[in-house]
Point group: C2
Chain length 393, copies 2
Amino acid sequence: MDLKSLTEVNPGRRVLMGPGPSDVSPRVLQAMASPCIGHLDPYFLLMMDQTQELLRYVFQTRNTFTIPVSGTGSAGMETCFVNMLEPGDEVVVCVNGVFGTRMCDIVKRLGGKLTMVEAPWGRAIDPDAVRKAVAGKKPKLVALVHAETSTGACTPLADIAKIAHEAGALLLADMVTSLAGMEVNIDNNGVDVVYSCTQKCISCPPGLAPVSFNDAAVKILTSRKTPVVSWYLDMSMVLNYWSAARIYHHTAPINMIYGLREALRIVAEEGLEARFAEHRLNHRALVAGVEAMGLSMLVPPTERLPMLNSIVIPSGADDKKVRGALLDKFGIEIGGGLGNLAGKIWRVGLMGHACCQSNVFLFLSAFETILKTEGIKVKPGALSGAAEVYDEK
Amino acid sequence: MDLKSLTEVNPGRRVLMGPGPSDVSPRVLQAMASPCIGHLDPYFLLMMDQTQELLRYVFQTRNTFTIPVSGTGSAGMETCFVNMLEPGDEVVVCVNGVFGTRMCDIVKRLGGKLTMVEAPWGRAIDPDAVRKAVAGKKPKLVALVHAETSTGACTPLADIAKIAHEAGALLLADMVTSLAGMEVNIDNNGVDVVYSCTQKCISCPPGLAPVSFNDAAVKILTSRKTPVVSWYLDMSMVLNYWSAARIYHHTAPINMIYGLREALRIVAEEGLEARFAEHRLNHRALVAGVEAMGLSMLVPPTERLPMLNSIVIPSGADDKKVRGALLDKFGIEIGGGLGNLAGKIWRVGLMGHACCQSNVFLFLSAFETILKTEGIKVKPGALSGAAEVYDEK
């Protein structure tokens, strides 16, 4: 490779309708291009305070300890477990997709005693199954994925939180895909420890993991008997930087935080309720269009996420060929299935800045055209099916 | 806080002459503001390949496994230890500042058997002390900080690498501050595992940690008996994404990688030799100016880093007041001392994009003015002392 011949980055035109990253507003990109300053500069400390307050707004929480961890969403998952768990602790993990499975992997690496509560991929977790799993145990944590990015299923929080608390456990929730796209309300729903990412409904590039710990979680952290096995993700030290003490731990990712702050500012301008309604509306229109074509959604109607739509790949269609054609001909990125669902579903994201009527129409028309080209029989009427939903509004 | 009243980010004018982050080129900021695309998009995969090749260039290595880890430099430190170590492994850590101390903390959290080799803060590690420490032991790793950011001391690599290898250990090196600012040549110097950061001599914003593992290190990783305790930093999985397999592990920080690639492209255009010479020249000029004022450097001449200059705070000077005045009046950020050296030194960085004659002159003139204002007696001639160095060139 001749290094001197490399040219400037130029990604071309894309419409990000996969499972994330989602399209990023030019305002966010512009903010990220602001001059880098020091991580203890008074102006940056002000940016930190504001980012925390904006994160509290989207998590719908009063938790003091609400910060962006310096890594991607997966670092957020690890942060929550590594700070809460000590070797030998009992943990109940709800598994209905790839990300619940990943939680189990992390719990095992940390020496936790794992109990799994499973549901079919594409379905929500049944609270009764959790009730049975905690019976007779003393779990420290019950963990679930609020919005399973690998399937598009939503597991409601409040019932399982109640079961966890009655068993003396905290509820740990993955909100990677739900945050800023639907109601999460962690305080009212009884979520004690939560993590998310920046590149889905917040529509900031990937690189940070918003987390929030309530007082019960902070108490577990500060009364540990063993040190947190990860120095980098040890929140007992990180919180001394993200608080009035401002004690240096590691150099914060300055420009990423500029970007996150701007993306959250856009969410606050729009207002959470309006944003949630927009996600629901475009989701309904997309599903109406897909179903008008005679195709099926993986997830039953009452368990569907608005921002992540899993379409069952029709018999005879070539998964990679269809996704390749969407990308090559229209610049549209959608996702394939993961794990057990590889080759079985397409995942269509309607997240944040990418969640709009134009993208719904663009996707449906491109999708219909490509399926027809591939010789897949689809019923006519995708666009009119979607349009009806917007008309009803 | 009224979230709707928050305005766009506007950090104002800064000259970053602290221990990092350093000033970032507008070209890098522009690259970071390019549209975000998917982490499996063919164009992004090309960016990954090019970034790896550019990293090999600055590490001066042929190591296949050379990638940016999705976290800051401290995540790089943790990555190296967590992938190499299993509980009970013997490790010799060289400690001559904050970052060697941090290595010891990480080794202990991971259950390693730690032996420390200490040197006074501000001095290099003595190879003979390492030789004595490894005698009769079977260490898996010998770890050192090539460029101690907390003191400004440089520890040469080759002798200690030889000692480590003769003892059957790998050499693990911190190159957070040295990379792209001075010769590192990890292949010739016998460095087996290495990490760095982006925000010092590479002059990209913080957020990524370049690492490189040679074949011996990869062999240790792939023949572990226990899983890597960190899922997020488990390089046995991450390398399946950063190789032809392209297996999804976590969503890469797309725009940060755009920025790193552009910053490395600037390094390659300039050429490593020219860049190293520039760092040495500006360092010599800065030191000449400081010494002309009658002030002292912490580190002896033969052990000084070019990019991080520790000035002993003269008696009577108020550390925070001087740094505050530099920031408030001139926008110049310099660093204070850390740990044992808090209140005893100022750390002046000359790193990457910020390493230039203009900044040397700006700093010396501002520094002299402020010290005089504070009533500290300094000799005249700082600027002419520095100018002589440039004239000699």
